[in-house]
């Protein structure tokens, strides 16, 4: 799943169309959109609005592993209007901490340090891009994920030759963003393939549910059960895992079942340590 955040609807529109998202409500000023593979928050302008919108989206959808993209416009001294960049350092004029995104794959855009301001400015600095939202976006997104999954892709909307303050129409912004959406989609796919993710199989989840319905577990034992089922899920194929259900007939209490599960883990890990390492 990809989570996008944009400040303006005109920045969001090309993404909404590409990922076939539909409106899905809102919180405060933030408006949400949702499709099969992506969700999006139009947060409003500024770091605080970005942080609020991202936090609200993250709270609605708590699954781990989602990618986060802040897509929007920025200023840069020398890059041409409509060119894209990806933030490799995100700073703010109001906070000392800086963020250094850690993408596991390379993108097609040049990396650039991005500085979030409170107000638009026409004062440009060599090698630095300026925006209003990225710092708030990173601050909020990093509450629910890691630096490898958080990205800020910015399209240059003003530069020294065309400084901030010149009139900018929504159609132009949408057109600029639209030109980069296929690259954003390709980059997101590459990231999704590269990033590790693991989930418990349905067979294992069903086993745990039926065990918990059959026996009483203390809080500690419940944690041990979760841990042992996760391990056996990794060690056993689906048929072998299903055979664990027989243990429910031969074990009447949690302690003896947990011991049997651990014995099976010891035996299987001994066999598979050298044969089935987790790359």
């Amino acid at each position: 799943m990809i989570h996008f955040a944009t400040a303006l609807h005109c920045e969001a529109q090309p993404l909404i169309e590409y990922y076939r998202m539909k409106p899905s409500g809102g919180v405060g000023r933030a408006r949400f959109f949702e499709g099969e593979n992506a969700r999006l928050a139009v947060t409003g302008v500024g770091a605080l609005a970005a942080a609020i919108g991202v936090t609200a989206l993250a709270q609605r959808h708590t699954e781990s592993g989602a990618l986060w993209f802040n897509v929007g416009i920025c200023g840069h001294k020398t890059l041409e209007l409509g060119e894209a960049l990806i933030a490799n350092r995100v700073s703010s004029e109001n906070h000392p901490e800086r963020f250094f995104p850690q993408p596991p794959v390379t993108s097609v855009w040049p990396g650039c340090a991005l500085h979030s301001l409170a107000q638009p400015s026409a004062e440009y600095v060599d090698g630095l891009a300026f925006d209003l939202e990225a710092y708030g976006f990173f601050t909020a997104a990093l509450c629910s994920t890691t630096l490898e999954r958080v990205n800020s892709v910015k399209i240059v909307s003003d530069n020294a030759a065309h400084p901030a303050g010149e009139r900018l129409d929504k159609e132009t912004v949408s057109r600029w963003i639209s030109a980069h959406v296929p690259d954003i989609a390709r980059y997101a796919e590459a990231l999704q393939s590269a990033l590790p993710h693991s989930e418990t199989s349905k067979t294992a989840q069903a086993f745990r549910t039926s065990v918990e319905a059959t026996m009483r577990f203390s809080a500690t034992e419940r944690q041990q059960l979760l841990d042992r089922v996760r391990k056996l899920d990794a060690l056993l194929d689906s048929d072998a895992f299903k055979s664990l259900n027989e243990l429910l007939e031969t074990h009447g209490d949690a302690k003896s079942l947990l011991k049997s599960l651990q014995d099976r883990i010891d035996a299987e890990s001994l066999r598979k340590t050298v044969a089935g390492a987790d790359v």
């Binding site: 490799n88 250094f100 850690q102 990093l142 630096l147 590790p196 996760r230 391990k231 001994l270 066999r271």
Partner: protein
């Protein structure tokens, strides 16, 4: 080799920094004030970063040469370690580095001259003592030699310090720096070794065992002293017999007179490091069974398993080696 290089402000004008940047003109250069800004933040995924680590060029301040833990020695009077790098090119699943740092990026401390000054001062404190310096604790000593020129810089220093011994701990076959110069008697090239099935399963991105043995052959022929590090021993089905055969294979191949020292130890890890490794690789069988938390706060194999592994492999080593060269980890 690197898509991104972070440059700490203090290291920006260092000649070694400039030389490395010249070697990687296409790498994206990102400036930071302190390396900790990039390396230490909590919200990082070591496993994801390991796929494409960046290089951080920084200066090491504070204590650079540290005493080793008490059980970690090679028969010297004093034992120290120092880390010119943090993190390793290889991705060995049993390695504590996975659970040690937030980041998988490589830090290279470019101020070698300060490390060298500290080593010289440490030796000068007690010049008659035999002082051993381990260089491969937080990294592989030779794996990135082409970038760091670490051995190239430090071997001449130890040549001037005959009472000090330098251990280069490695799995690398990148030994040209050593082969291109005369060997020195107070340096040991110590190879981490596991039988091929273990290496194939757990030592990702490391050279094959056969390639390591061939590199050792070349070093022996050139007159270098070799260390054999059977560490960590891994418990697996029929593992002891495999280890015994492997010890025979290695020790029949490397001439006894070229073997400086042999160490071994079973897989173990501090509890907090183990927890992080397990969370990174939740499907890794190595972290699943036959382990216990011992009274030293270490996760290790249960006592009978560890004892049998250590005793049987030690016995086989001692069939080939003088006990004076053998240093089993306790």
């Amino acid at each position: 080799m690197f898509d991104r290089i972070y440059i700490e402000e203090a290291a920006r004008s260092h000649s070694r920094t400039r030389a490395i940047l010249d070697r990687f003109p296409k790498a994206e250069r990102i400036e930071c004030e302190r390396y900790g800004e990039v390396f230490n933040p909590k919200r990082q995924d070591f496993r994801a970063q390991k796929q494409n680590p960046a290089l951080i060029l920084a200066e090491k301040h504070g204590k650079r040469v540290l005493p080793t833990p008490p059980d970690y020695g090679l028969g010297g009077d004093r034992h120290f370690y120092f880390s010119h790098m943090l993190n390793c090119l290889y991705d060995c699943r049993y390695c504590f580095l996975q659970g040690m740092y937030q980041s998988a990026n490589y830090i290279l401390f470019v101020n070698f001259e300060d490390f060298i000054g500290d080593i010289e001062a440490t030796v000068a404190e007690r010049p008659d003592d035999r002082s051993v310096f381990f260089s491969g604790y937080d990294c592989d000593s030779l794996a990135m030699e082409g970038v760091t020129r670490f051995a190239d810089a430090f071997l001449p220093v130890f040549e001037r310090l005959p009472n000090a011994l330098l251990e280069l701990r490695t799995k690398s076959v990148n030994v040209s720096t050593l082969l291109n110069r005369n060997p020195i008697p107070n340096a040991v090239v110590a190879y981490s070794l596991n039988p091929e099935p273990v290496a194939n399963a757990l030592e990702h991105q490391a050279p094959s065992v056969d390639a390591r043995l061939k590199a050792m052959d070349k070093l022996v022929a050139a007159g270098w002293q070799i260390g054999l590090r059977f560490d960590p021993l891994i418990h697996f089905e029929n593992g002891i017999a495999v280890y015994e055969g492997f010890v025979d294979h290695v020790m029949n191949r490397i001439p006894a007179e070229s073997i400086h020292s042999i160490t071994l130890g079973a897989f173990r890890s501090p509890k907090n490091v183990f927890k992080k490794m397990e969370a990174l690789y939740p499907k890794e069988p190595l972290f699943m069974g036959n382990l216990q938390l011992d009274d030293r706060g270490q996760v290790s194999y249960s006592e009978p398993i560890e004892r049998e592994l250590i005793d049987r492999v030690s016995a086989r080593i001692l069939e080939h080696s003088d006990p004076a060269r053998f240093f089993p980890c306790q």
